[in-house]
C-alpha cells in the first residue's frame, strides 16, 4: 500500500521528474538559440527541489515504500550537495555550450535526469532501488558524453563509458542476485540482520566481491579505473565537469548504502578489499598523473587518487570515518568542479584549453584567475589553509583513530607524490611566460561563479568547523 507519507518522502523526486518532463516538452517549442527558458527553468527546478528537500527533511529517519527508500540526514546533506554542484555545473555548461555553438535543450533535461538518478541512488534502501538510481544516472551520463556528435573523441569516450559501464552494472546485478539468493530479501536492512551470523557463507563473499567491483567501477578506483582518463579527456569539458563532480557524491552514497547499511556484518571482508583498492588507486593515480600533458587527463588521474583517499575513510569502519569520507567527497566535488570550470573559462570558440601548456603565464593574463587556480591546486594537493587539507586531515585522523597508522603513513606518502603535479600547474601559471596574451573572454556570471568556487575553498578552509560538524552529526545519527 502506498501511503501519503510515502508520497511526501519522495515529493522532491516527483517534482524533479515532472519538471524534467515538462522542460523537455517546452524545449521542443523553443526557437531561442540561447535556450534561456530551458536553462532558467532547469536552474529553478534545482533551487525549488533543494528547498523542498530541506523543508521536507524529517527529524528522524523516514522510510518509504516498504523500506526500499530512506530519507535520513546523510541523504539530505548529500542531496543538497548535489543541487549546489548541479547549479554551478549547469551555469558553467550553459556558458560552454553557448560559446562552442551546440547548445541543446536536451543537455539540461538529461542533466536533470542524471540528478534525479543521483537523488534516488542517495536515498536507495533496497538493492532494486540502488540499481534503479544507478541506471538512471548512468544512462543519462552516457547520452551526455555522446551529445556532441561531431566530435570523434566524444563518441569514442561514450562508447567506452557505455560498454564498460554496462559490464559493471552487470557485475553489480550478479553480485546482488547472489546476496538475494542467500538472504531472500532485497531490503538492505533485512539483508544486514539476516547475514549477521552467517558472514562466512561463500556465496555471500562472492556476492560481496561482485558488488564491490560495481562500486569500484562507478567510483573509478584502480583496477576498475580504465574508463576514467579516456572519458574525462574525450567528453566535452562541460560534460566532464558534470560527471566528475556530483555523481561522485552519489557513488559514495551507493557505497555507503550497500556496504555499510547492507553488508556491515561483513566489515572484515570488505575492509581488506578496500585497503587494496585504495592503495592501488592512490599509487596509480598519483604516479601516472605526473606524466600527463592534457589537464583533463591529469585531473582524471588525480580523481582516481582522490577516490583512493576517499575509500580510506570508508574502510576505517566507524561512523566518524564515514563522516570523514563524506566530507572528503563533498569537498572533492567542489574542487573538481572548480578545476574543470577553469578549463572552460580559458577556452573559447573552436578552442579547448585542455592542454597543460594552455595554462602557461596565466598570472600575467589574469592574476585573479591564476590565483583561483592556485587555490584549487593547493587545495587538491592538501596544503593548508585550503579546504582540501581538512578533507585529507579528517580521513587521516579517522584512520589513525581506527589503528591504521601505517595506512595513514602510506597515504601521506602518496600525497607527497601528488603534490608534484599540482605544483607543476602552478609553475606553468606563475613561473612561465604566456604563449599568447589573449584576454580571457567569459561572462560575468562565469567569472563570479568561479570566484565564489575558489574563495569558498579558502574561506571554508579557514573556518571548516560548521561543515565538519554537519558531516559528523548526520553520520552519528545514521550509525
Amino acid at each position: 500500500m502506498i501511503s501519503i507519507t510515502d508520497i511526501m518522502t519522495v515529493a522532491p523526486e516527483i517534482f524533479m521528474l515532472t519538471m524534467a518532463c515538462l522542460i523537455l516538452v517546452l524545449d521542443t517549442f523553443s526557437n531561442d538559440p540561447q535556450r534561456r527558458l530551458t536553462y532558467y527553468l532547469s536552474q529553478l527546478t534545482l533551487v525549488v527541489t533543494a528547498v523542498l528537500v530541506s523543508q521536507l527533511s524529517p527529524e528522524q529517519t523516514a522510510y518509504a515504500f516498504g523500506n526500499s527508500y530512506i530519507d535520513d540526514g546523510m541523504a539530505t546533506v548529500l542531496k543538497e550537495g548535489v543541487f549546489i554542484i548541479g547549479f554551478f555545473a549547469f551555469l558553467y555548461s550553459h556558458e560552454y555550450l553557448k560559446e562552442h555553438g551546440w547548445l541543446k535543450g536536451e543537455y539540461f533535461v538529461l542533466g536533470l535526469f542524471a540528478i534525479l538518478g543521483e537523488m534516488i541512488l542517495i536515498s536507495a534502501y533496497s538493492l532494486l532501488t540502488v540499481y534503479l538510481g544507478l541506471e538512471l544516472l548512468s544512462l543519462s551520463l552516457y547520452a551526455m558524453v555522446a551529445m556532441h556528435r561531431k566530435s570523434t573523441a566524444a563518441s569514442e569516450a561514450a562508447m567506452k563509458y557505455f560498454v564498460l559501464g554496462a559490464m559493471a552494472s552487470g557485475m553489480l546485478l550478479y553480485g546482488m542476485s547472489m546476496i538475494y539468493g542467500v538472504t531472500g530479501s532485497l531490503q538492505l536492512e533485512t539483508i544486514a540482520t539476516t547475514i549477521e551470523n552467517d558472514t562466512s557463507n561463500i556465496l555471500l563473499v562472492f556476492g560481496l566481491v561482485f558488488v564491490l567491483v560495481g562500486i569500484a567501477f562507478k567510483l573509478g578506483a584502480v583496477p576498475f579505473h580504465m574508463w576514467v582518463p579516456d572519458v574525462y579527456q574525450g567528453s566535452p569539458t562541460c560534460v566532464t565537469l558534470f560527471l566528475a563532480s556530483a555523481p561522485k557524491l552519489a557513488a559514495f552514497a551507493m557505497a555507503m548504502r550497500l556496504l555499510v547499511d547492507g553488508l556491515q556484518p561483513m566489515l572484515d571482508n570488505w575492509q581488506q578489499m578496500l585497503i587494496i583498492l585504495s592503495i592501488l588507486s592512490m599509487a596509480t593515480g598519483n604516479i601516472v598523473a605526473i606524466s600527463q600533458t592534457n589537464i583533463k587527463r591529469m585531473l582524471a588521474y588525480s580523481a582516481i587518487a582522490h577516490i583512493g583517499f576517499l575509500l580510506l575513510g570508508l574502510l576505517s569502519g566507524t561512523a566518524s570515518g564515514y563522516a570523514g569520507s563524506m566530507f572528503y567527497v563533498i569537498i572533492y566535488a567542489l574542487m573538481s568542479m572548480g578545476a574543470f570550470g577553469m578549463v572552460i573559462l580559458l577556452g573559447r570558440k573552436d578552442f579547448e584549453a585542455d592542454e597543460l601548456a594552455h595554462f602557461k603565464g596565466l598570472s600575467d593574463r589574469s592574476p585573479w584567475f591564476a590565483f583561483m587556480m592556485l587555490i584549487l591546486m593547493f587545495s587538491m594537493a592538501g596544503v593548508p589553509p585550503f579546504l582540501g587539507f581538512w578533507a585529507k586531515w579528517f580521513v587521516l585522523k579517522e584512520l589513525v583513530d581506527a589503528g591504521f597508522v601505517w595506512l595513514a603513513a602510506t597515504a601521506v606518502f602518496f600525497s607527497i607524490i601528488g603534490v608534484y603535479y599540482y605544483l607543476h600547474v602552478i609553475k606553468l601559471m606563475y613561473f612561465d611566460k604566456a604563449d599568447s596574451m589573449t584576454a580571457i573572454k567569459a561572462s560575468k556570471q562565469m567569472r563570479f561563479a568561479l570566484s565564489v568556487n575558489g574563495l569558498a575553498l579558502l574561506i571554508l578552509g579557514l573556518m571548516p568547523g560548521a561543515l565538519l560538524a554537519i558531516c559528523i552529526s548526520v553520520m552519528s545519527i545514521a550509525a
Binding site: 596544503v383 585522523k397 583513530d401 606518502f413 607527497i416 605544483l423 602552478i426 568547523g465
Partner: protein, 506 residues
C-alpha cells in the same frame, strides 16, 4: 591598556591583511605600494617590541595568551601564546622583514606588489608558527608558509629557480606530513591538540621513538641537518636576495623551534635514546659541511653551507644536554647549552641575513655570484667592504660579535660532556674563519679584477641604513647578550626539566 590588546593576533593578521591590501593596490603606483608595505612592516615591528617590553622574565608560562574555539568538533582551538623561546624569534622575524622589504626597494622590477605582499603574508604566517599553542594551528601556519616562499623563489629567482623551488617545496612537505600523522596519533591518545597538554602525555618508549622520527623528518629537513640539507643550497642560490634572507634568518629557525617545542618535551625518552645519533649528525654538519663550504665557488652557496654548519651547533646544543647532565649531574650546564643554541639561532639570523644582503648588494651591481668575478671590491666600495668585514668576522665567531656568544657557550657546555665533542665542534672556529675570510679576501681585497668591479658604485643611503641596523644588533648582542639569556632562562630551565622527566610507564 596596552596589555588588553590581542597583540599576537595583530602581529599575525596585520601583515597578512596588509599583504592583501598591497596586492589590491597593485603595481600602478610603485612608490605608494612600496611605502605602504614598508609602513606595515615597521608598524608590525614596533608592535612586536611591546612583546619584549611587557614580557615577564620570571616565568616559563605562556604569556600574551589568546584563546578562541576554532573547530569545536575536534577540540582544535585558536590558542596563541609565547614563552621565552618564541618571543625573541618573533621579534627577529618582524625586524628582518623590515630589512627585507627595504632590500627589495629598487631591485625588484616585475610584479613588485606581489613581491612585497608575499613577504608580508609570510611574516604573519611565521609569527603564527611561533605563537601557536595548538598543534593543528601550528601545522596550518607551518604549511601555509610554504606557499609564499614557493612563489618567491619561483617568480623572482635565478635561472634554475623552478628546480630549486619545487625541490624546496617537496622536501619540506615530505617532512611535515609525517609530523601531521604524529600529531594525529597524539590526538587519538589524548583527545587534544594543545601542545602544553601533549607535553605531559605519557607515552610508551616504542611509540615515542616513532613519533620522534616523524618529528625529526619535519624539523631536520627544515633546520636543515645533514643528510637532508640538499634543498637549502639550491633554494638559497636561486632565491632573490630577500628570499634568501628570510630563508636563512627565520625559516631555518622554525626547525630549531620545532625541536624545542615538540621533539624534546613530547618525546624526552626517545630524545635521550637518539641523542648520540643526533650529536653525531650535528658534528657531521659542523665539520663536513664546513669543509664543503670551503670549496664553493658561488658566494651564496658558500653562505648556505655555512648556515648548515652553524645550524649543526644549534642541534648540538639541543641534544648535548643529556650527556652534560649524565657527566656532571647538574642541570645548570645543560640549560646553558640550550641557551647557547638559542642564542646561536638568533645571532645566525642576523649574521646570515646580513651576509646574504651583502652578496645581494654586489649581485645587483654585477649580476654574478661567482667569487672569481670579483676581486678588489674594496677599491671601489670602501664603505661596503667595511660592513662586510664585520659580518664576515661575526660569521667566523669573532669575540665581541653575537656570532661568538652562541658558539662559545655551546662549545663550553659540550666540553662538560665530552672533550672530543667539544674539540670537533671547536674546529668550526677554524673552518668558519677559513671559508668566510678566504671568500672575503678573494672578493674584496686584491687588485681590481675586471671592468665590472672598476665601475662599482659604493652603497647608497638605503643600503647603508639596512647594514647599519644589522651591525648594531650584531654588536649589541655580542657585547651584552644578557637580556636574551634572561628572557629565555626560565623557559629553557623548565624545558630541561621536561626532558629529564621520563614519560614511560607513568
Amino acid at each position: 591598556m596596552l596589555a588588553e590588546l590581542p597583540i599576537l593576533s595583530l602581529l599575525i593578521w596585520g601583515p597578512v591583511l596588509g599583504g592583501v591590501w598591497v596586492l589590491y593596490a597593485g603595481d600602478r603606483q610603485e612608490e605608494t605600494v612600496k611605502t605602504l608595505a614598508l609602513m606595515i612592516s615597521v608598524v608590525t615591528f614596533l608592535l612586536s617590541t611591546l612583546l619584549y617590553k611587557d614580557f615577564d622574565i620570571t616565568t616559563h608560562e605562556m604569556q600574551f595568551v589568546e584563546f578562541a574555539y576554532w573547530i569545536e568538533a575536534f577540540n582544535i582551538n585558536y590558542y596563541l601564546g609565547i614563552d621565552g623561546i618564541a618571543m625573541p624569534l618573533i621579534i627577529l622575524t618582524t625586524f628582518i622583514t623590515v630589512l627585507v622589504i627595504l632590500a627589495g626597494w629598487e631591485v625588484i622590477e616585475k610584479r613588485i606588489s606581489q613581491y612585497l605582499a608575499a613577504f608580508l603574508i609570510m611574516e604573519g604566517l611565521m609569527i603564527g608558527v611561533f605563537s601557536a599553542v595548538d598543534a593543528m594551528l601550528f601545522y596550518v601556519f607551518w604549511e601555509a608558509m610554504l606557499i609564499p616562499m614557493f612563489l618567491i623563489i619561483g617568480i623572482w629567482g635565478g635561472p634554475r629557480r623552478v628546480y630549486a623551488t619545487i625541490k624546496f617545496f617537496l622536501y619540506t612537505f615530505l617532512g611535515s606530513v609525517f609530523m601531521l600523522v604524529a600529531f594525529l596519533y597524539l590526538y587519538s591518545q589524548s583527545g587534544t591538540f594543545n601542545i602544553l597538554e601533549l607535553q605531559d602525555l605519557p607515552l610508551e618508549a616504542g611509540v615515542q621513538k616513532l613519533i620522534f622520527i616523524a618529528f625529526l623528518l619535519a624539523f631536520a629537513v627544515k633546520i636543515p641537518m645533514w643528510p637532508v640539507h640538499t634543498w637549502l643550497p639550491d633554494a638559497h642560490v636561486e632565491a632573490p636576495t630577500g628570499g634568501s634572507v628570510i630563508l636563512a634568518a627565520i625559516m631555518l629557525k622554525l626547525g630549531g623551534y620545532g625541536f624545542l617545542r615538540f621533539s624534546l618535551p613530547i618525546t624526552p625518552d626517545a630524545s635521550l635514546y637518539f641523542d648520540t645519533a643526533m650529536i653525531v649528525l650535528s658534528l657531521i654538519a659542523i665539520v663536513y659541511i664546513g669543509f664543503v663550504a670551503l670549496v664553493q665557488q658561488d658566494m651564496k652557496k658558500l653562505i648556505a653551507y655555512s648556515s648548515i654548519s652553524h645550524m649543526g651547533f644549534v642541534t648540538l646544543g639541543f641534544f648535548i644536554g643529556f650527556s652534560i647532565y649524565a657527566a656532571t649531574g647538574s642541570t645548570e650546564g645543560a640549560v646553558f647549552g640550550l641557551e647557547g643554541a638559542m642564542i646561536q639561532m638568533i645571532s645566525h639570523g642576523f649574521i646570515s641575513g646580513a651576509l646574504f644582503l651583502c652578496v645581494g648588494i654586489m649581485y645587483d651591481r654585477v649580476h654574478s655570484r661567482e667569487i672569481k668575478d670579483y676581486g678588489g671590491v674594496v677599491n671601489t666600495m670602501p664603505h661596503f667592504a667595511a660592513f662586510m668585514m664585520l659580518f664576515a668576522m661575526a660569521n667566523a665567531g669573532l669575540p665581541g660579535t653575537s656570532g661568538f656568544v652562541g658558539e662559545f657557550v655551546v662549545i663550553v657546555s659540550a666540553y662538560q660532556a665530552n672533550f672530543w665533542i667539544a674539540f670537533l665542534a671547536a674546529l668550526t672556529l677554524i673552518l668558519g674563519a677559513a671559508y668566510t675570510l678566504w671568500m672575503y679576501k678573494r672578493v674584496i681585497f686584491g687588485e681590481v679584477a675586471n671592468d665590472n668591479v672598476k665601475h662599482l658604485k659604493d652603497i647608497n643611503s638605503r643600503e647603508t641604513f639596512i647594514l647599519s641596523m644589522l651591525v648594531i644588533v650584531v654588536l649589541v648582542f655580542g657585547i651584552y647578550p644578557a637580556p636574551l639569556f634572561d628572557a629565555m632562562h626560565p623557559t629553557l630551565e623548565h624545558l630541561f626539566g621536561q626532558m629529564l622527566q621520563s614519560k614511560v610507564g607513568q
